[in-house]
């Protein structure tokens, strides 16, 4: 296990990969710092750009964006009480009060170091936990893999959004999109409308960019926000010094990292939930819980470390089983496929330098946060907040269009991307989660292939899908996930609140 890990380290620190990681971190911080631009959108926009790159260079850049954006969200959270990314919501609770007390500099320093610690610990967990988990999955045959795919889809669909019916419909929509094109066994065209372009199926990249990148741009057009923030809002000079108890900080990081990693690994739960759970846990364990929400530095430390600890951990089930831990990990899964890398145990055998190199990129990019998220740099990054959204909107559209075009030098791709942009906008407004659709498209043909191979193995008898012990265990997990909303509803009913907010309580995860 350690030999490929060490070898891939040397591959990762080659100049081209390091340059990509560094560029990714800078871009990620810029995206994260701008409210309305998320890590998800940054990755969706950049995937087309990485298409011509070597896989490790591309994944290194995306790893940098992933970690950079997770931290970047803290900048407006501390300075303006606006979370730049959904994960930075908890950072506002104490970051902004610190800023109001003249401690913005300290709050940002705690945020960047906590983000780096969370990200590095998470990357180490990815390095240590993925290879053994991948070895376990070697025991999986087509029926088991089929059920693991179903489990991934069910968990993302049910746990990520706040409405299981819409989540499942979004998943099925993704699976349906995956059916478009020639059937691999019979050679028959499915759902192609006799359009030649669709015969080879819908390109994942085009659907992904359309669904994720276009809707925020049109939202900006709707809001028509003319003013960025003023220079006065971006004051950094601390009015007084503050003593930070290192022991308490270390304990906070340890507790939050463990929570962030566990939440990250759980399929569909990753995202914003880690920050909230860590925040509550650290406050509960604190000797002064009343100071939370009023500018306690530990509030910033736990929120940011848990938020970043989720990043690499969410890739553990994604790399080994093809089941992402968060919406963003679903997108990264798509990026792996676009670069020709199939998640699963064979990935560790066939492309160890790339898969372990990606883990190192997650580690290194977390460390680079301290360099690029330092005070001087943060001061520069915060300047992007001064750019009015009405100017950002056409820039996003222009870069999205060029990303779609350069994929295959085809305008059909551009118009297809536009169509999915409208679909994504409607999905967002109707509160359908988008990640299950992407995952459905990613896993669709894999699930179908494994289902059909299983039926061939069973000579047409579907019983083979239900009789093997590992399959049965995964089926139990699928049933538990599908029953979770019922259990939640029952819990609410017991508390006498049934029917009031069952469908509208905050979701576990977030995109």
């Amino acid at each position: 296990m350690f030999e490929p890990l060490i070898h891939s380290f040397w591959v990762t620190i080659q100049p081209d990969v390091m340059l990509a990681i560094t560029g990714g971190v800078i871009l990620g911080i810029l995206f994260g710092a701008m409210p309305g631009l998320t890590a998800t959108m940054a990755i969706a926009l950049l995937i087309p750009l990485t298409f011509g790159m070597q896989p490790l260079v591309a994944l290194g850049m995306l790893a940098g964006v992933h970690n950079g954006a997770s931290y970047g969200g803290a900048i407006p959270a501390v300075l303006l009480r606006i979370p730049g990314t959904p994960g930075a919501i908890c950072t506002t609770f104490d970051g902004y009060p610190m800023s109001k007390q003249g401690l913005a500099r300290t709050a940002l320093w705690i945020a960047v170091v906590s983000s780096a610690v969370g990200g590095m610990v998470s990357a180490i967990s990815l390095m240590l936990l993925s290879p053994p988990l991948a070895r376990v999955t070697l025991a999986f045959g087509p029926p088991e893999i089929f059920w693991v795919n179903v489990f991934g889809l069910a968990s993302i669909a049910v746990l990520l959004g706040d409405d299981p019916v819409k989540g499942l419909l979004a998943s099925l929509f993704g699976l349906l999109l995956g059916c478009v094109g020639i059937d691999m066994v019979t050679g028959h065209e499915r759902f192609t409308f006799d359009i030649l372009y669709l015969v080879s199926g819908l390109p994942l990249l085009i659907v992904l960019v359309g669904l994720y990148a276009m809707p925020p741009a049109w939202e900006m057009a709707e809001e028509a926000n003319l003013t960025g923030v003023t220079q006065k809002d971006l004051e950094f000079k601390d009015s007084r010094g503050i003593d930070l108890p290192l022991g308490e900080l270390l304990a906070t990081w340890a507790r939050s990292c463990v929570i962030g990693i566990i939440i990250g690994i759980l399929p569909g739960v990753g995202g914003t939930a880690g920050g909230f759970i860590a925040y509550n846990e650290v406050r509960r364990a604190s000797r002064d819980p009343d100071s939370f929400g009023k500018g306690n530095p530990m509030g910033v430390a736990c929120a940011e470390s848990a938020n970043n600890a989720d990043n690499a951990a969410a890739m553990i089930p994604a790399l080994t089983l093809g089941v992402p831990g968060s919406g963003l990990a679903a997108l990264m899964l798509g990026a792996l496929l676009i670069h020709g890398l199939q998640p699963g145990p064979q990935l560790f055998r066939e492309a160890p330098d790339i898969v372990f190199g990606y883990m190192w990129a997650m580690f290194i990019s977390s460390g680079l946060l301290i360099v690029f998220g330092g005070m001087m740099a943060t001061r520069l990054f915060a300047q992007i907040l001064r750019l009015p959204q009405v100017l950002l909107m056409p820039l996003i559209i222009a870069i999205t269009v060029i990303g779609a075009y350069t994929f295959q030098n085809s305008f059909f791709d551009v118009y297809m991307m536009l169509l999915f942009g409208f679909v994504g906008f409607l999905m967002e407004r109707l509160k359908f989660p988008i990640a299950p659709t992407i995952l459905g498209l990613v896993l669709g043909d894999k699930a179908e292939f494994n289902m059909r191979t299983s039926l061939l193995m069973g000579q047409g008898d579907p019983a083979i899908l239900f009789t093997r012990p590992i399959s049965q265990a995964v089926i139990v997990l699928v049933v538990l996930v599908l029953l979770y909303p019922v259990w939640r509803w029952w819990q609410e009913k017991r508390r006498g609140r049934a029917g009031e907010d069952f469908r509208h309580e905050p979701p576990l995860g977030g995109e």
Binding site: L172, L175, L176, L226, P388, M393, A398, Y405, L430, E448
Partner: protein, 149 residues
């Protein structure tokens, strides 16, 4: 009212799913089974979504409108479509040099220097990344053909 939107969305998805389900009967059996499983599930779930919008709890809920500013959205979307068509027929840089300042101006930004600098910087960045660094061809400029290039 989102409940009404849910009702309309449920009905629309139901109709489309039924159509897709029916379409699977034109496929050979082995190619149809999986597609039928998906579309069949969509039919059931969309019916659930439609049906529950009539329950007492859903009926009385008040939610945000589907479009916050329909006119602005329509203008933004129409400009995006026009920009895509423009990229195809007049070229990427020309279309971008028109689209970026026009969109910013239409949505009310009145800072010409900022708009001009941002537009030119963006085009230079795209040129540097796509054409110099990655050598990827962009949609050709129509006026280049006038000069025989």
């Amino acid at each position: 009212m989102l409940a009404h939107h849910d009702r309309m969305a449920g009905a629309a998805i139901f109709v489309l799913s039924v159509a897709a389900f029916a379409w699977t009967y034109t496929f050979p059996d082995s190619a149809a089974a999986y597609a039928r499983m998906i579309t069949g599930s969509m039919v059931v779930l969309s019916a659930v979504m439609f049906g529950r919008s009539f329950t007492a709890a859903e009926r009385d809920k008040v939610f945000e409108p589907l479009m916050r500013h329909p006119r602005r959205f329509a203008v933004g979307a129409a400009m995006t479509v026009a920009y895509c068509v423009g990229c195809e027929y007049v070229g990427y840089y020309t279309a971008s040099l028109v689209f970026i300042p026009t969109a910013a101006w239409v949505f009310g930004l009145r800072r010409p220097v900022m708009i001009a600098v941002t537009t030119v910087a963006y085009c230079a960045m795209i040129y540097g990344i796509f054409e110099v660094l990655f050598e990827r061809p962009l949609p050709p400029e129509v006026w280049m053909a006038w000069f025989g290039e």
